[in-house]
Every structure is written in C-alpha cells, then in structure tokens.
Amino acid sequence: MIAVQNLVKTFGTVHAVNGVSFDVHAGEIFAFLGPNGAGKTTTIQMLTTLLTPTSGSVRIDGLDPRTHPYDVRRRFGIVFQDPSLDGELTAYENMDLHGVLYHVPRRTRVERIERLMTLFELWDRRAGLVKTFSGGMKRRLEIARGLLHTPKILFLDEPTLGLDPQSRNQLWTHVKYLNETEGVTVFLTTHYMDEAERVAHRIAIIDHGTIVARGTADELKQQTQTTSLEGAFLALTGATIRDESADAADQMRQVAKMWRR
C-alpha cells in the first residue's frame, strides 16, 4: 500500500530524512517511531504530497505523489500533529466541508457523516461549534473526518498528544475497529510506546533520518534483549535528549495554544 525506497529530504545542509526504505502492506497498522527531530513528520509530509522528496521514490497505492498528487490525496486521510478543524464551524459543517472538498457525492456524504459521527460518539454534538469541544472530541472529529472519503490509508501523526488516558484508549479502540471492519491501512506516529505496542502490527524506528530497526514489537524486544518496547526504543535510539530548535511551525503552535485558552 505504501512503498518507500531510499527516500531523502535535505533542508540546506541538514539531512532530515536520509535514505529511508520501508513497505506498509494493505490492511496493516504500521507504527513509525522515533525521538523528536528524527524525521517522522518530514517523512509523513513527503508521503502526503506536502513536501517534495530530494531523492528516492514513494508509491502510495502504486501512485507517485509527485506526478499524481490529486489521485494520491483522494486515497488517504490524515490527522495532523496540530489540530486542523475550523473552530467557528459546527462539527457537522466541518465534516460536510471535508466531504465536498473530497468530492464525496451528497447522499453518500450524509450517510457516512452520520455513521462516522455516531461511531465516534459525536453525533449528539453535531450542531455544536468546534471551538467549544474538548481536546479529545476534536481529535475524534478529526479522525472521523479523515475517514469520511473512505480512504485506503489513514495517517495519524501523534494523534494522542495531550489527551487523557480515557480519550487515548477510546481513540485507539475506534482506530482498531475501523482497521478491522473497513480494512483501512493505518500509518501512525506516537511517543507513547504502550500505544504502539498495543495497536501496531509492525513497527519501524527512525533516528537521525535513518531507520535503525523494524519488526513486530516482540521482535524488537528480542533484538535488543529488553522486556518492553520502551526499553527497546531507548536501547536503539540512546537516552540523550534531542533538542529541536523551534521553527516557525513550533512558534505558531505556541501562539495557537495561547489563543485557544
């Protein structure tokens, strides 16, 4: 479903992603783990047509995002690291707008919005303005929205950041359920190792722009002779703390946080 060969992205002299290769099979839940600044988000941006790779090849359902951006976009849904809802619109309007942007025919749109919003326990709040929603509700709405156009792949970039354990648990239950019932392939990143261990079929660990290990959670533990995925992760990527310099996006995130209060 996703095939990546020797993917490279350089910003000036920095190799954000340096020769990454992996395959994600159809119907699989694939976790892409790594410390801050390892190249996770940059990789996702290249897979989702938001960034052009410096070199290497990407195939999404057999298509090259560079040459077929619109066909590729129709095939995936994405939940970004930062919220991307319109707070001044209602939950339903956000869903509907997405459906129109993705050319979902009206009848299908109406049916599917109701089905997904019911599944994510948001149907009762459909007429509420999104700015009045809690963090967990917004996340659920974003995932429901990402699935509206029946994508083949769902990208989740740290979807549980800042959520309480209840919301996280509920969110993964829904994601697993959709993976099993609709067969949607899931590509996720997270900093919570227990989540990855719980939901992911296979895991790849990236550090300094290259993949340092891959396999199932058990394989990674065996490989590193550790008892938990967290232990395996630390054994593979070291215990030093990565200081990311704040770029424009981080600064914006801070302002957005400030304004959301």
Binding site: Q45, T48, T49, L50, L51, P69, Y70, D71, R73, R74, I78, F80, D82, P83, S84, L85, D86, G87, E88, L89, E93, D96, L97, H98, V100, L101, Y102, H103, L129, A248, A249, Q251, M252, V255, A256, W259
Partner: protein, 248 residues
C-alpha cells in the same frame, strides 16, 4: 467548482457568526464619518467646496471596504495558525480553487460590510445625487473588494506569523487609505502627493464611488474602471502565485 462554493460559504458563515466583530467594524467608519464629516464641515464649506459630509461619505465607505477585504485575506494567517489551512491544502482540489473561494468569500463579506456603512451614511444625512447611479457605485465597491481581497490573500500567504501584521497595517493599509483621496479632494495637491495618490489603487475606487454617488470625480468612470480591473487581475495573479508557494 463545488470547492470554490463551499469555501466561499465558509467565509460567509464565519462572518455571520462574529456579531461582535461586525459591530466593532462599523464603529471606525462611523467615527470617521461623524468626527470628520461634522468636524471639518465648516472649514470645507468656507473653502467653497460644499458639504464635507457629502464628500467624505464615499471615502468612508471605501475605507470600510478596504479594511474588511484586506483583513479577510490576512485571515489566511488565522487559518494557518489554527491549522485549518492544512486541511484545505491536502484536499484533492487545485490550490487555485481554494484561493479563489477564499478571495471571493472575503470580497462578498466586504460588499456586505460596505452596504451597511452606506446605510449608516444615509442615516447620518448623506444624500446620493441620484438613485439611478447606485448600481454603478456597487460595481465600484465590488471591484475595490476584489482588488484588496486578492492583495490580502497575497499578504496572508507571505506572512509567517502575526508579528508581520502590525507592519502591514501601519506601512501598507493606513497609507493606502490616507493617500487615496478618501479624505481630501485630488485637485490642487502638491506635486509629490498628486503623484503618490495616482499610484494608489484605492484612489480610483473611491473616485469611482464618489462619481457614482455624488457626481463629483477627478477621473472619468471609464478610467477608474479600467485601472481597477487591471489592478484586480494583477493582484489576483500575485495572490494565486503567493498562495501556491505556501509550505505547511
């Protein structure tokens, strides 16, 4: 086409829901109209130029339209900050459609805003010279809206954060307004000012409005029209170009 429509509709919904903002945005034109219209009225009268309220009303309408259309474009910055922009940029829709939808939405909101200010002017005692030319006034209003909504989109696409906003406000929006002939006649100006006012696109918009509403203008309606249309095309191309360069 559906994408353009839904993004246009989004702008209107957002506008109709921000009641406080609507009222706040009517305050400034009202202040200009009352303070300047009545305050400078006697001086203007003594200079033999007639009623200043009559003269300044089209300028005040032009001002509110200028502000609201530029700010709607800069609203892109909010979309960027609150993340919604990304949602539209990964959608299987050409960026040009997104830009057009947003710009038309902003322009429509500004026309509504301008119409409300026109009504306020009428309530304050402004009397258009003839009813038959009011459609022409609206045509000029629409043109001003498109010109500056497109400029706003170009600016909104180029700015990275809110810090640049004050800069744009003080060094672009206010000069466009004050140097446009909104507040003073374009005749007998010092040469430098005469040149600058003629380089300001809003000058032609307000001149067109004034010609249509009170029958007084420095240029012919055809000149105003031609300049505004050319600038609208140029700014739309610029806006579309800048928008296509946005990186998320």
């Amino acid at each position: 086409m559906r994408a353009i429509y839904i993004l246009w509709l989004r702008e209107l919904k957002r506008y109709s829901r921000s009641r406080a903002q609507i009222i706040a945005s009517l305050g400034q034109p009202l202040l200009y109209l009352l303070a300047l219209g009545f305050g400078l009225g006697p001086v203007f009268q003594q200079a033999g130029r007639g009623s200043y309220l009559q003269f300044v009303a089209p300028g005040v309408i032009g001002m509110s339209v200028l502000f609201s259309s530029i700010f709607s474009g800069i609203g892109l910055l909010w979309d960027r900050q609150f993340g919604f922009l990304k949602e539209t940029l990964v959608a299987p829709v050409p960026r040009l459609h997104i830009m057009i939808g947003k710009t038309l939405g902003g322009a429509t909101v500004s026309v509504i805003q301008g119409t409300m200010v026109l009504v306020i002017c009428l309530l304050a005692g402004f009397r258009p010279s003839s009813v038959s030319t009011i459609p022409l006034a609206f045509a000029f209003m629409v043109l001003i809206c498109i010109v500056f909504a497109a400029l706003g989109t170009a600016i909104g696409s180029s700015l990275q954060n809110m810090q640049g906003f004050q800069l744009i406000m003080n060094f672009l929006v206010m000069p466009i307004y004050f140097l446009s002939g909104a507040l003073f006649p374009l005749t007998n100006l010092p040469t430098a000012l005469a040149v600058i006012t003629r380089l300001d696109p809003l000058t032609y918009g307000i001149d067109g409005l004034r010609g249509a509403l009170i029958g007084v203008s420095a240029f012919s309606a055809a000149t105003d029209f031609a300049v505004l249309v050319s600038v609208a095309v140029a700014f739309t191309v610029l806006g579309a170009y800048r928008f296509s360069k946005i990186q998320v």
